[in-house]
């Protein structure tokens, strides 16, 4: 704003005005100003250009406003043997014409360089050399160079004429909404600089481009048709004849003759053996439908990418870099073949001091970051290809800056938005490929164009690609981490920044309507907090997913002993715990807010639940329980007071289930079960219309899953065998390591011999059950033996023998599982695209195992294979979700376990020999450990799998068994050192050391065996020290001593052997 202050220098006032007009987009003329203010003219002419420079450094309001290549007004008609027919396009370096080579009678493309271009002999030499190099390239997708020449000062290059258009023209077409064509034509070889580039007026040309675009979108290119030379003769150049025909032809109002050729493999008169394409093409041109980019389009783009990559691979193998790959240099012909043009010419054509910014920006945009430092190699070309593909996918350039300096800065330091963020329909794999190609560091890209081509091929064939993607949650986390470093703020604000970032990245401008400001603002506020919660939830799930502990908790330490049960609680890494604590803060504050608004109250209840979740993950069970109870209370009150009763039942049940989990973790199994039953009751009490919803059904299935899981005794105490029920072991229950610390009470498995109190609780739950069962006979029968038996059994008068309880509980559990499976199968059938349903279903199938390994019934193997199938397809569709792979590896491991010990045992139908399955499991597991070294469950799982693998390796391949054990030890000791508070991890380490010792002993490597056994003993002792109740383990330690004694004796150290034996005795 110019203030008419007489104090100001009048020149400055003018300058201010000049610059403001520029910024508004006008083009004020310096000469004009000079004329209007003659007294200041000299200074105006001196200084205003400098102003212009300064402004130009910032932003270019007009694209491509720099110098346009021109021949200086000369109209070419002939260049030696070549009769110029018409201009096709112009680019940064030269103008491309269509010409007729009279000596050979063929049509060619001729690129003419302006006279002043090659001034110095060295430049000319370079130019020639490059052209020769390019001419040596023979590839389907590289435009052949036929020759070069000079005529009256004009240098030119002769190339094959390609009937099609540059991808920049196609892109420009696709960017127009409604498929209208921009004012650009591009019929053949083009060096188009974009939509502003002038071109020969040719409606035929326009139609060609739009037809190409249409073909790209539909994935259908037509049969080739020989280009009819007659129509293009004449000194007027292209376009005359087609327009005349267009006017005359009524059946395709906007089509020209050229269009006809493109549109059909035969004439337009031919009938239906052509697809509907021709008619719809013409028709659709008439009324501009918007471009629908669907699967066909993605495939088209990928195909182009593949062709270009192959061509590059070939060229690179012939030691030729392109250096200037961009959509304008990629041609697409009417058959869908992609061509690269202008090979190597970038280097030859470079000019000193190109200050014509507009043109340079066009080239700059696709340059690889390292090119700015002068380091070009094959990967720079790969980068440029990737960037071109990016633009084809998203219909906008990756780096959109008009400001040259910003552009360079963004390219060298910044990152373009992810394609799927701009358009979620873009296939994930394709995005991954493109992102890898355009990685900022060359070493992060594909090393060769061949690899790029192969990965694209994989995509096209629906095979998994090599490049790896990061999950959305990982990205969110990285964003959050970046911002934390940014400000060193309290993590509460960090979380808010995350939320705000989510908001800020939405393009609200598009959504803006004529709402009243107030309402819109309030709505936006609610959306913001909803978004904030969602964002936080995403982070939460990343840190503390509901990941089951590795399934195999039991290990046979030697064939004679009963298996030792050591279930491992999920352990949080330090970072995860810290993050969760921070988030807790935020949720707590939210949780404490009141409010009358129903939505708000709902959010508060949700926050309470989240607090409970976090507390649960952190192991603060009492607080967790309190939060859950509060959440339930809030939800219940809300449900009563508002009309939205139905929605909340799902939430309430969800919380009740979580509460159940907490109770189990606190060793209050009865309360836990009751809670799950409460959840069931909640769900069942919902009215019919809401009970049909998938969310509700899912929660129902989840509840049954929990109930089914918990009804079975965990593997450990031996089930009743065919020889009748056995007494439960009189000793202490199977020892459970609680990684939270030695002061916790070991958890008893549920329920071996329920005491009176627990029976009472059980009775209460059963009564509830009874009522529900009467309503629906598909529900599992209540209690041991069902309703009828309940009447005959006297309640709590005698101690019930455990085995019938076990088996009927298992039946009940089985019923629940069946119900869960039934529900989930229906859900999956109705909603096949929701991965969560399938995932839970797979888990349910897996839970059907109750018999110990080696006695798998055929049906249970069936279930396992079903689980495997589901997981395999989940892994294929969502390669980025590590937990699916985790579950799959666990399932393979189970299959490996459950397979027959002896292949010839009757009735066994294992699909594969166990070790092979275990190998598969191991491969997956290793991958996971490599990708996610911070997640302890993966590491634990890999160790377990290795240990089981070892059981068979011991006999077949002893040296591999040893390597296997060593690797397992390595992983396990990493775990033990990362989580020093976990006695369980130390225990496992000890076990592995002992195993290794035994193995080495067998192989006769005695001194190594000794040290391994000694390590094992030391570790066991550490474990015993940290938890006095681990008396159960003394036996194992004693055995270890005995093995050590053995080894020592064999080594001739009898004295030491004696000592060891005595130690063993003292332990027994």
């Amino acid at each position: 704003m110019s203030e008419a202050d007489p104090q100001r220098d009048p020149l400055e006032v003018l300058a201010d005005e000049f610059v403001q007009r520029q910024r508004r987009g006008e083009s004020p003329s310096i000469a004009e100003y000079a004329a209007q203010h003659p007294e200041l003219a000299a200074e105006i002419e001196e200084l205003f250009p400098t102003i212009a420079v300064m402004e130009r450094l910032k932003v270019h309001k007009q694209r491509g406003s720099g110098a346009r290549v021109s021949l200086g007004g000369i109209r070419l008609e002939r260049l030696g043997d070549f009769r110029i027919l018409g201009e096709i396009g112009r680019g940064g370096m030269g103008i491309v014409y269509e010409a007729f080579q009279e000596s050979l009678g063929r049509h060619v493309a001729v690129k003419v360089l302006p006279r002043q271009t090659l001034l110095t002999p060295s430049q000319l030499q370079r130019f020639q050399r490059e052209a020769q190099t390019a001419a040596r390239l023979h590839h389907t997708n590289i435009v052949p160079v036929f020759g070069m020449g000079e005529h009256e000062g004009f240098h030119y290059i002769v190339m094959q004429l390609i009937q099609g258009a540059g991808l920049d023209a196609v892109l420009a077409t696709l960017q127009q909404p409604g498929g209208r064509q921009p004012t650009v034509a591009g019929k053949s070889n083009s060096g188009l600089a974009g939509p502003d580039a002038a071109a020969a007026p040719s409606s035929g040309g326009r139609n060609d481009v739009s037809h190409l675009a249409r073909a790209l979108v539909e994935g259908r290119f037509t049969q080739p048709r020989r280009f009819d030379s007659e129509c293009c003769d004449g000194s007027d150049g292209l376009g005359q004849a087609p327009e005349e025909i267009a006017a005359a032809d009524q059946s395709s109002p906007t089509a020209g003759k050229a269009t006809e050729e493109f549109a059909c493999g035969g004439d337009t008169k031919s009938d239906g053996d052509q697809q509907a394409a021709p008619v719809s093409l013409a028709a659709s041109l008439a009324h501009d439908p918007p471009w629908q980019l669907g699967p066909a389009y993605w495939r088209s783009v990928a195909t182009i990418g593949q062709q270009v990559a192959e061509a590059l691979y070939y060229a690179h193998a012939h030691h030729t870099l392109h250096r200037d790959i961009k959509p304008a240099n990629l041609l697409l012909d009417s058959q869908g073949v992609a061509w690269i043009t202008d090979f190597g010419l970038a280097k030859a054509m470079e000019q000193e001091n190109v200050t014509q910014s507009g043109a340079m920006v066009g080239t700059l945009r696709y340059m690889a970051p390292e090119q700015f430092s002068g380091r070009v190699d094959a990967r720079s070309d790969i980068y440029s290809v990737g960037l071109s593909l990016y633009e084809l996918l998203t219909l906008r350039p990756a780096f959109d800056d008009d400001d040259r300096s910003n552009l360079i800065a963004r390219i060298t330091h910044g990152e373009p938005p992810r394609p799927r963020k701009l358009n979620p329909a873009i296939p994930a794999d394709l995005e991954t490929i493109v992102l890898k190609a355009i990685a900022r560091e060359p070493r992060d890209r594909y090393a060769t164009a061949g690899e790029l081509a192969r990965d694209i091929e994989c995509f096209l064939e629906d095979r998994p690609i090599q490049a790896r993607r990061t999950s959305a949650a990982e990205r969110l986390w990285r964003w959050a981490r970046r911002n934390r470093a940014l400000a060193g703020l309290a993590a509460c604000t960090l979380a808010l920044l995350v939320a705000v970032a989510v908001v800020a990245t939405w393009d609200y401008v598009r959504v803006s309507q004529a709402n009243t400001r107030e309402k819109a603002q309030r709505k936006k506020a609610e959306e913001t907090s909803a978004l904030a919660l969602e964002a936080l939830d995403a982070i939460f799930r990343q840190f503390a997913p509901d990941r089951p502990a590795p399934a195999s908790a039991s290990l046979r330490v030697s064939d004679a002993e009963d298996p030792v049960t050591v279930p491992v609680q999920p352990v949080l890494s330090k970072e995860a715990a810290a993050m969760l604590e921070h988030m807790l803060d935020f949720y707590d504050r939210l949780a404490d807010q009141g409010g009358d608004d129903a939505t708000r109250r709902c959010k508060v209840a949700e926050a309470n639940r989240r607090v409970g979740d976090i507390r649960q993950r952190l192991g603060h069970y009492e607080k967790s329980k309190a939060s859950y109870l509060r959440a339930i209370d809030l939800y219940t009150r809300l449900a009563r007071s508002s009309a939205k009763k139905m929605d909340l039942r799902g939430e309430i049940a969800g919380v009740q289930n979580e509460l159940g989990n907490v109770y189990y973790a606190m060793n209050e199994a009865e309360a836990g079960r009751k809670s799950h039953l409460d959840a069931l009751a909640t769900l069942r009490a919902a009215p019919a219309e809401s009970s049909a919803s998938p969310g509700y059904q899912y929660e129902l299935a989840r509840t049954c899953y929990f109930l089914g899981k918990r009804a079975t005794a965990p593997p450990g105490p031996p089930p009743p065998g065919p020889d009748g029920p056995r007494q439960p072991p009189a000793g202490p229950p199977a020892f459970v390591f609680d990684p939270r610390g030695p002061h916790r009470v070991p958890q008893a498995p549920f329920p071996l011999a329920p005491g009176e109190e627990s029976q009472q609780q059980l009775g209460g739950a059963l009564a509830l059950w009874q009522r529900l069962v009467e309503e629906d006979s598909s529900w599992p029968s209540a209690g041991p033996g069902g309703p009828q038996q309940r009447q005959t059994k006297p309640p709590r008068s005698q101690p019930r023998p455990p085995s019938p309880a076990l088996s009927s509980d298992r039946n009940e559990g089985g019923d629940y599982r069946r119900k869960a499976v039934e529900l989930l199968e229906r859900l999956v059938a109705g909603h096949p695209t929701v991965p969560g349903y399938r995932h839970l279903l797979a888990r349910c199938y897996r839970e059907t195992l109750s018999l110990p390994p080696g006695r798998a019934a055929g049906r249970e193997l069936d279930n396992l294979s079903k689980a495997t199938q589901i997981l395999e397809s989940l892994v294929k569709e969502y390669p980025e979700v590590a937990d699916y792979r985790y579950d799959l590896s666990e399932t393979y491991a189970m299959l490996g376990d459950r397979g027959p010990r002896k292949p010839d045992a009757p009735g066994n139908r294992a699909p594969q020999r166990p070790p092979a399955m275990l190998e598969k499991a191991l491969a997956l597991s290793e991958q996971l450990v490599a990708e996610h070294p911070n997640i302890p469950e993966y590491a634990v799982s890999s160790v377990n799998i290795r240990l089981r693998l070892n059981e068979s390796l011991r006999e077949s391949d002893a040296s591999r068994a040893e390597a296997n054990l060593r690797k397992a030890l390595e992983v396990q000791s990493t775990l033990a050192s990362r989580f020093p508070q976990s006695a369980a991890y130390k225990f496992w380490m000890a076990v592995i050391e002992e195993s290794l010792g035994g193995l080495l002993q067998e192989r006769g490597r005695l001194s190594e065996a000794r040290s391994a056994l000694q390590d094992g003993i030391a570790s066991f002792q550490e474990v015993l020290r940290s938890d006095a109740k681990a008396g159960h383990l003394r036996g194992i330690l004693a055995r270890n001593y005995l093995s050590l004694a053995d080894v020592l004796r064999r080594m001739g150290e009898d004295h030491a052997a004696e000592q060891a034996t005595r130690q063993a005795e003292s332990l027994r």
Binding site: V13, R23, V53, K58, G374
Partner: protein, 235 residues
């Protein structure tokens, strides 16, 4: 005192609004008065009015080494929160016009960001002398020279760019401090003459004269390096 959530919500609105004409109808004093009253809406309005220019400033004055890690938008977000916090003190600091006040906060935020990321790597020698309490995290010289150097290089001459950059930096550094600053403020931050005067703490007349002088100096510099100055008069 607004909760953090509310502040974050406010900030996100500044993205949602385009600077509307009716916002400008608000008298400048009106805005200042509302700010003195601690009106958060007024802060949001102020922010959205000047967001573009502040964004330019951040971009211009950010060290290149931060470009991959920090977005100008990030800095603005944080500055907004800081401004919201400082709103209660606006009364005391209201000797500045609202925009200059806000600009100062953004600058301080930017400086903190630099300090956090670059720490010891911040080159003290390059930082500008205090100008009315604002320290710039990067030197205007460096930023300006970089922009100029970028503007002239053809792709394969990037190696020469480094040398050119050094030369340019030297020459621009030899300019008078205030002259240089005026150029940056007027062109890269798009400040008007009165705003420049306020920021630099000089009279409007002096600011005006300085600008012209600076242009002359710059022109002399540019004309010595081939290719920097365009011959034609059209833009």
């Amino acid at each position: 005192m607004a909760s953090d959530v509310e502040k974050a919500v406010d900030f996100s609105y500044t993205w949602l609004r385009e600077p509307h004409v009716d916002d400008k109808v608000d008298q400048p004093d009106g805005l200042a008065n509302r700010l003195k009253d601690g009106d958060r809406e007024a802060l949001a309005t102020l922010f959205s009015l000047h967001r573009e220019r502040l964004w330019r400033m951040v971009n211009f004055r950010m060290d290149r080494r931060l470009l991959g890690r920090v977005d100008a938008d990030d800095v603005l977000q944080e500055a907004y929160l800081a401004a919201a916090d400082r709103l209660q003190h606006y009364r005391d600091e209201s000797s500045s016009s609202p925009f200059v006040w806000l600009r100062m906060i953004v600058l301080q935020t930017l400086t903190n960001v630099h300090r956090h990321h670059l720490g010891a790597q911040m080159r003290d020698a390059d930082r500008e002398v205090d100008l009315r309490g604002c320290r710039y995290p990067t030197s205007t010289t460096a930023s300006l020279a970089a922009l100029l150097a970028d503007s002239l290089t053809s792709p394969s001459q990037a190696v020469a760019r480094e040398e050119m950059l050094e030369q340019l930096e030297q020459v621009i550094a030899a300019m008078d401090l205030l002259d240089r600053e005026v150029l940056a403020l007027r062109h890269f931050e798009e400040l008007g003459n009165s705003e420049v005067a306020e920021v630099l703490g000089i009279q409007q007349k002096a600011a005006s004269i300085r600008y012209i002088r600076a242009l002359k100096r710059l022109r002399a510099i540019l004309s010595q390096s081939p290719g920097l100055l365009e011959g034609n008069g059209h833009v």
